[in-house]
Amino acid sequence: MTKTLYADGSSGRVFIYNNASPPSEYDSVSGAKLSDLHFHSDLSYIGSTEIVQASINHPQRTRDSESSKFGSDTYKPRTGTSDYRLGPNNLNATSLFVVVYNGYQAPSGTRIQQRGESIRLVSVYLTSSEVRLHETWSTFDNTLYATTQTYTVYIIRKLFNKSGTAAIQVNPSGFTAGYGKLDTAYKYIRRSDASPTFYVSPYKTADVRGGGYKVVTADGSSYQSNTYTGSFSGASSTGVKV
């Protein structure tokens, strides 16, 4: 198959497409032509991913109970929150990121521990300088024992803006094209069906029915509450490699 690399020295625009049509057809990127493109410097790429991984020891949360006049225990709900630092955010607070909770690409607000009615839920968030974990715990009929969980966060740089003035530049230290959009200094995220780092998808990853819920993550992992009565089975996703 013919592949064409075109560089426009005046605009700095560089693109690679999968046919021998005149380059003028790809000067501007429109919806229908996207499927012909291998690369176009007007597009916004993602990559140069930073990886933050941390194991957090979530401490024991002891239930609160007292004896009732009928001789049985009565429970009082206890609840609280804690925030943990997972690592530095060397990019910025508005970077894209993907979270893997203890090996699963679970949704925010995910449950990491449950004993009876007592639960522990977490979400990862970014600040301008840190990757942090927010924990909400609630005890009722059981104490939540200490647990260690591992979190992996892929922080993705938005390669949206052009820089420099070179349409194409090759030197011993690297290659750049399209005013810096294509640069060997970056490590772009690419599709990978074999052993992907994580998955992307345009679909829902959870459903609720009958009071319960079912999660089918983009990586195909599945779990549900015993009260779920729906038929959600998840949807296809695409693996990518960092």
Partner: protein, 256 residues
């Protein structure tokens, strides 16, 4: 294209993801209160639990010596005048009266307890967050949420519904996000609320979905009420929650 330090950087045989559109939109959504009731049960406690200050009138009867002075006059013919004297005259009289008698007395009370029930409901509402150019046919979304729960649904016996969404923090919202949940004794989830962001053609939608099964609570709030039924209306559960969410959606596509 590869580099010594980064390995393969770009390969025309490997599709690369890129962002074809960024959509920002704020949505406020209220999950409904599904309605419910408070059920009360009670039984007589028997005497000894409650006392009442009681007054009554009693008829009190008895003999009483009743005396009075009477002026007794007689005509004295010798002096031709009337002579009067005062005499004390007494008698025994049977007499009755009503007396008010007050004091504390034991009475029956009511040992009452109450529970809440919440009616089952499935609820879904969808919002359009935005679209990308026709013909784009995106392949994936990367979604970020900055959410605030401005009103938290709750149960009297359990407190507010549990959430791990930190107010005002930027979290991942790709796919679905578990907003709130509530559990029964034993651990069964009886209420769950989620928000999902997904693609329909070239349009990005946000779907707020709620599900709760009929919740039949445990009798709690044991109260001994001495004078009529206790008021348990404070136990009524308001399970409505309100969320305001800033959606930040990156619409992505793979190159060929």
């Amino acid at each position: 294209m590869s580099s010594q330090s980064n390995g393969v950087v770009f390969d025309t045989d490997t599709p690369m993801p890129h962002i074809v559109g960024v959509i920002n939109k704020y949505v406020a959504h209220t999950f409904p209160d599904t309605g419910g009731d408070v059920k009360v049960r009670g039984f007589l406690t028997g005497a000894g639990n409650c006392r009442e200050y009681d007054c009554r009138y009693e008829r009190v009867c008895g003999y009483e010596r009743v005396c009075s002075y009477e002026r007794v006059c007689e005509y004295d013919s010798f002096f031709d005048r009337e002579v009067c004297t005062t005499e004390r005259i007494c008698d025994r009289v049977y007499q009755c009266d009503r007396e008010r008698i007050c004091g504390f007395v034991d009475i029956d009370g009511y040992d009452q307890s109450a529970k809440t029930v919440v009616y089952a409901k499935e609820h879904v509402e969808r919002y359009t967050l935005g679209s990308v150019e026709s013909g784009t046919n995106p392949d994936f979304l990367l979604v970020y949420l900055t959410a605030n729960r401005t009103k938290a649904g709750s149960q009297n016996a359990r407190g507010t519904f549990k959430t791990a969404i930190p107010n005002g923090r930027r979290i991942s919202g790709t796919g679905s996000t578990l907003l709130e949940s509530a559990y029964r004794v034993g651990g069964s989830t009886w209420l769950t609320r989620i928000v999902s962001v997904y693609l329909v053609g070239n349009t990005v939608k946000a779907e707020f979905r709620h599900s709760n099964r009929y919740y039949d609570g445990e009798y709690t709030e044991n109260t001994i009420s001495c004078f009529g039924a206790a008021d348990f209306s404070f136990m009524n559960d308001d399970i409505s929650s309100r969320w305001g969410i800033d959606f930040e959606v990156y619409v992505g596509k793979f190159t060929t």
